[in-house]
Symmetry: C2
Subunit: 343 residues, 2 copies
Amino acid sequence: MGERKIRNMEEFAALSGISRPTVSKYFNDPDSVRKSTRARIEAALARYEYRPNIYAMNQNRRLTKTVGIVVPYLADPFFAEIARNIERMIIDAGFSPILFSAHGAPSFEVEILDTLRSLKPAGVLLAPLGRASDRAVVEKFCADVPTVLFDSNIADLGEAFIGSDNDQSIALIVEYLCRSGTPPRFFEMATPTNPNANRRRAAYLRVMAALGHTPHCIKVPGSGWDFEEIGFREGLRLFQDGSITAGTILCSNDRLAIGLLAAAFEHGLPVGRADSCPLRIAGHDDHPFARFTCPSLTTVAQDYASIAERSVETLFARIESGASGAVRATTLFAGRLVERASA
Amino acid sequence: MGERKIRNMEEFAALSGISRPTVSKYFNDPDSVRKSTRARIEAALARYEYRPNIYAMNQNRRLTKTVGIVVPYLADPFFAEIARNIERMIIDAGFSPILFSAHGAPSFEVEILDTLRSLKPAGVLLAPLGRASDRAVVEKFCADVPTVLFDSNIADLGEAFIGSDNDQSIALIVEYLCRSGTPPRFFEMATPTNPNANRRRAAYLRVMAALGHTPHCIKVPGSGWDFEEIGFREGLRLFQDGSITAGTILCSNDRLAIGLLAAAFEHGLPVGRADSCPLRIAGHDDHPFARFTCPSLTTVAQDYASIAERSVETLFARIESGASGAVRATTLFAGRLVERASA
DNA sequence: GTAAAAACTTTACACGCGTAAAATTTCCAG
DNA sequence: CTGGAAATTTTACGCGTGTAAAGTTTTTAC
């Protein structure tokens, strides 16, 4: 292979004994040419290892073979994992994924969308920052590029939304916590970064009421994406000033719970489902690290794989149909209770 | 803004009252045109929000304004963090970062390099998989594209290598552990994913000998990137079969330590620097989550920021000089001891 | 074996911008 | 005011591929 350098498709076509338009057709869809032709091209391809110039290719294509993935915060392993799954599926579908992280900053998100627009992607999978997102910008973007939202919803934007069924998952864990011990208090940030937090609080209030318990929300100051830090700092404060001495605490997400567990440990307060433990702590999401907290974290697993899969499927359906779907579908996947040692 | 749609630079140039070649010059370097001209262009830019077609731009530029970033495993927050820092610097330098993760798979790494080559980037910052990397492929890539290696070295490849001074950092923590308690054993995977692991073991052996202690390496089965899982599973096994009951353990990296801490907790073995604790555990890297383990993890902080900064600087120096540097420089940054509760 | 369909070849133009060369205008110093 | 330098305009071509149209060959179906 690599017998000599190929400059362009013209030259490659000559060497493979096929006309350039046919070779061009092959690269846009290998199945669109005769089997024997395809074989000849691929034989030449093996000998000369030529690849079409991406930039020249995309200059004339209205829709690129690129699919954008935008996540709010890549340093959160949750998003890293989901991005990994999505990347794989996009590749398998014959497209090229390109990954962006807003790093928690709305200005970055805007910039990314701007960049992405000029990349003319076939579609975009967007997990927006949520409350912090610039709605007008996202809306305008969705009008130009087929976009599927996932994880975090922005009302009425994009072709569809795929996420977790917070009502179901919170009900699941609240009911579990109630029947296995004291009813939980709800631990969250006062100004939640993510709209899911609001849905979860609402679900908590509803379920507690339905079960005949008095709900109690603990809203701690803090914003941004350093959830563990906030959970730790504020948790420690609450333990130290005696606000929390016992009972059950359901955290809005696992990363807060990880911080809170660390605070409880630091404060010498045993956490766990054993009778000897005054405190129980539970989370939500089944974060990759939730298995390795001390004690291991009881939580509700979000259905990563299904969310990723359905998001990709939905986007490709939209891309292939060519036209925007009549209705904006919202798909929510059920959570699964993960009983571990912490509650 | 956005008074009407602009098709191309020709049209935009007409609307701004400037000739197309000058506008083109402006986009390649805003400072290369007269100040008054620049002002007029930017005024028009504000009114019509035109952006040049990326693909048409890059088709004729031999070197793109793109800089590739390749990390071995993005679900590891360590790499997510360093990628974030690097992205920021690349943007500040007026280039466009594009991020790839090999997801731990050599085949992905090869594919990424292939994709990257056809993107004609100005340069690439590559943290290779290490032992698992296909040396021939990386070598060929480095010959085509200015590449700076970081984090994980591959002998003699790329323009430079920037990483951590494992000799120094391991000496730092081994000395600390020895003077504050029992000499450490070294906990690592039998077939380490990362070449740093080998350097760290060698450093451990050397320092222990220098201090007059008998070194002891604990090599546990396991490969891949699920470090916490391996640390947990194998740690638990060693605790349960009585192989480890007390002493000090230095883990090859923080993620193994996180797993090992969880195993110790599960097994009911108290960990910490207090006299009441039979076991001490330390790590290496100062992983973002190391502050939130129970107990919090004593470790050596890698100088993230400096590694990122120097890598970017080195690459841009290479890009601007145009020619390959005469010598391949290796820059190692010193680690900083982070004393926490676990050792 | 024949006709129709499918695939291919040839030819030609388009895309949007980089960039070179020559002509013109603008700028600045003296 | 003037000369020369600097910046801009005009003109023109090139980059590598998409793609349309018309003509030719190959394949498929009966």
